[in-house]
Symmetry: C2
Subunit: 520 residues, 2 copies
């Protein structure tokens, strides 16, 4: 037994193993019944680079930080933090001696709990845990019936409901889609409320302005209590680097707001190779490391010990069209290296997700998406944003792809359980019973293990061709279309304390009343 | 640098690195221009089980072999081989003392060359090499225009041409589809001829009767010369175990024919968990190891030193429909363990491929196919049959999926190159040139590396939504449909020596004249 196997066999929170048991459990709990609150991986991470090569990347990141530096714009407090920590400032440009950021990062926890309002749904982030969250940030939504259109708060709520109803997602996510029918300066309130109202899983708040981050955290305080929030993580904020090598004040102010409240920032560069970073993978990875270390370290200067997640968003470019690409092999294999680097920093990791540039939930979408999603779980990501719904290079949230991706998240539960080795699994008695040339259909070992054997997708059609044809020759997208409609029709909201609901609505009403509508 | 990186950085046969260079080379060589003859992986295998657990599987396989045994039916010579090697016989049932098969297997090569009639296309099988071959054995073919129908020799030739024209496949395969319009007892001649005539890559021969295996090898002798064939591998034969624990005479006679001629048998159980093996993954893996070791060892008793490939074909079952499933998580993760076991035997490995039960080249097909194909490359498979075209649980060969899968094989070339670490890739100069807040579009490093950067799929559409919509909102299947038609229209056969062609045709005519047509 290697270290990975030893550690996880004791700790896997497995209420069940295969798809069938989970589905049975799901049925008995109503459609909001869940599989597990999160996955504890029972297979090791896929480490592809040697110590020597990892050190070369780290040294390159250190030189970028020391010789070129990172600009911190429009945030004097951030500059002041850096100054006091011993960085070298020239205006907004901050340079860091090699090793300095690693020292600052020593106070960040390697693992933390993000609490859900239903404590059975709280997740661990870090170590061997894997948490699947929906896609994040698309302005459009699409489905087979209505095509592509701007997202609304109704779509937003629909996706929160679909995530809540899936036994294979663990987290409600954040800006599942932009609710474009709500004013820009008010929509964070409606989004956070939708997560709280329609889901009892963990969720994310706004980062588009410091005040919106603080509103998001205040709403979490109404749900969890002010003292609890000061001591526990209950909300995440996903902040982006303005790659290359710039941190915008909007982002660092939000990042610091989360850290100050002891909530976790997810620190994510967005490096499109050849545009916001070099065209070579190793260079993009070194840049990502430099930018992310700086962001993560800033959280520790704001509040030592605050939880923070090391994020990654590598991408490449189509040389034919000049367009960004997603779900391609360079970012996929690059993720493995990012994973190794994050573990050397002892920080929880966010990586990729079900990425694609396809405009439809078609073969292209799931080819890229599957490669990208497997990279995320292989590289050891603990928090996988964009696990479900991502289409069109993040521009569209697809109802059908959401359902397909959530189904694949189910398959990944079985995959990450690995190959269990014990006497029952090795089945020597079954061979004794059956012998050569017979079959295992009704044998005692099969009967005893049948219920827990084999992932069984609800989107795949495994019927014989003739039966599939007689039933209408439907493709996976059509089956997914039926599935999301059925799920929404049967959805039941989890209970929410009425006093909390009233307090949230009061808070939102007061905040909205104090603002003019802003539409951009 | 770890061992894997050190070994392969010296040996990778890289005529090029990224998709663009390969495509440029492809254009300059006409459409039959190839990327590389095969891949030498630059990333390590993904090993998921500890030594202790691998030993437990091996011990279970040893007990199956010693206590239950394997039946060898209708092949007295095979039984005689086993007797002389020291196995225990009771009628057809053969039992093996623990360790005996490993000892017999010690003469099998860890790696060998399969020669192509164009020596530039010869492949290495074993070690760090990865060879992609088309799908194998479906009775039906399908395309978007004509739907599903029985395969013909015209379809067969079409797929040989499509494989030959792809820069991302390395091998012409074997029974790409059953040419149902040719009598069963004669079609092996037409199939082998099509591989030789329309491709100059390595190929496979028949295994459905000893005489057909020998005919296949005789045709290879016409191409390569009798002496060359006696000393070198030029043809593969894929033989299946009649799982559980039965080797049929038809298969062992073919297996021995290949071994006797110093050609490589690919030894493959077909274990559908719950039917031909236990429902538990560990037990199915132990069974697979037992059955495959026995088949591989038999080749060494027939001719010590003959090349042989350790094969694997795990599958699971849908608990809803009772149908076999393909491309599911259990076989995918099980492949990693099979890979570790094969390497402990020091044998070249064949594993999975682009498996699915989908009846269409849709999202379902590429979700399962991508998971399955990535498992094959992660587990260290050297020869990946079913790399392109597989649909409907192996019942259909799809023109469109063939093109999609071949394109994904291209992506895997880039993926298996891993993350290269050197000064140019680390790009420190680019950061010095560009600095914070700018972009890398026209910088010197980008210009110098642009041509070799980034895989660029020919099936993915990375254009903006509006441009994609204006061009007809095509999905990936429609683009693949255009692609295979264009490829066939532009196909040019590689040159074939006229004397060889005549000799092959003479051979086939004589063989056919000596047989009545048989249709089953």
């Amino acid at each position: 037994m290697n270290a990975s196997e030893a550690a996880s066999s004791a700790t896997t929170p497995r209420r069940e193993r295969g798809g069938r048991v989970a589905r049975r459990e799901q049925r008995s709990h109503g459609q909001q019944g869940h599989g597990r609150p999160y996955i504890v991986r029972n297979i090791p991470t896929y480490d592809i680079l040697s110590e020597e090569n990892l050190v070369r990347i780290e040294q390159t990141a250190d030189r970028i930080l020391a010789e070129i530096g990172i600009e911190f714009r429009d945030d004097p407090v951030a500059l002041d933090h850096w100054k006091r920590a011993g960085a070298k400032l020239e205006g907004d440009l901050v340079r860091f001696e090699p090793g300095m950021l690693r020292e600052v990062l020593a106070t960040a926890p390697a693992q933390f709990t993000q609490h859900a309002r239903n404590s059975a749904n709280s997740v661990e982030i870090g170590g061997k845990s894997v948490v699947f969250a929906p896609a994040y940030g698309s302005p459009f939504v699409m489905d087979l019936d209505r095509g592509r259109r701007y997202g609304t708060i109704e779509d937003f709520a629909n996706f929160v409901k679909l995530a809540q109803a899936s036994p294979w997602l663990h987290h409600s996510g954040g800006t599942i889609c932009e609710p474009v029918d709500v004013p820009v300066n008010k929509r964070h309130l409606d989004m956070v409320y939708a997560h709280i109202r329609y889901s009892d899983r963990p969720f994310m708040g706004s980062v588009t302005a410091e005040s919106r981050a603080e509103d998001s955290i205040d709403m979490a305080r109404i749900v969890f209590g002010r003292d609890f929030v000061d001591e526990n993580c209950v909300i995440l904020g996903n902040v982006n680097v303005n790659s290359p090598l710039v941190w915008d004040g909007t982002m660092t102010l939000a990042l610091r707001a989360y850290a100050r409240a002891n909530q976790a920032a997810v620190v994510v560069p967005f490096i499109l190779g050849g545009a916001m970073g070099p065209v070579t993978n190793a260079g993009a990875i070194a840049q990502s490391l430099a930018e992310t270390m700086a962001g993560c370290a800033l959280t520790q200067l704001e509040r030592p010990g605050a939880p923070v997640i090391f994020g990654n968003f590598l991408s490449s470019m189509s040389l034919r069209s000049g367009s960004p690409t997603f779900g391609t092999p360079e970012p996929a294999i690059g993720s493995m290296v990012i994973g190794q680097l994050a573990r050397r920093l002892n920080l929880p990791l966010r990586c990729s997700g079900n990425f694609t540039t396809s405009k439809l939930p078609d073969a292209h979408a799931m080819n890229e998406g599957t490669m990208s999603m497997l990279a995320a779980v292989h590289c050891g990501a603990n928090f996988i944003l964009h696990s479900a719904g991502f289409l069109d290079g993040l521009l569209s949230m697809s109802y059908e792809k959401f359902v397909m991706d959530a189904d694949f998240c189910g398959a990944l539960h079985t995959y990450l359980d690995g190959v269990v080795i014990d006497d029952n699994q090795l089945a020597l008695d079954a061979f004794r019973e059956v012998g050569p040339g017979s079959h295992f259909f009704g044998c005692a070992h099969t009967m005893a293990n049948y219920e827990t054997a084999f992932w069984d997708s609800e989107i795949a059609d495994n019927e014989p061709f003739e039966k599939w044809e007689a039933a209408g020759s439907e493709d996976a997208a059509v089956r997914a279309n039926c599935k999301w409609k059925k799920t929404l029709a049967e959805y039941e909201a989890p209970p929410l304390d009425e006093a909390i609901d009233d307090a949230l609505n009061d808070f939102m009403a007061r905040k909205k009343a104090a603002m003019e509508d802003a539409w951009y």
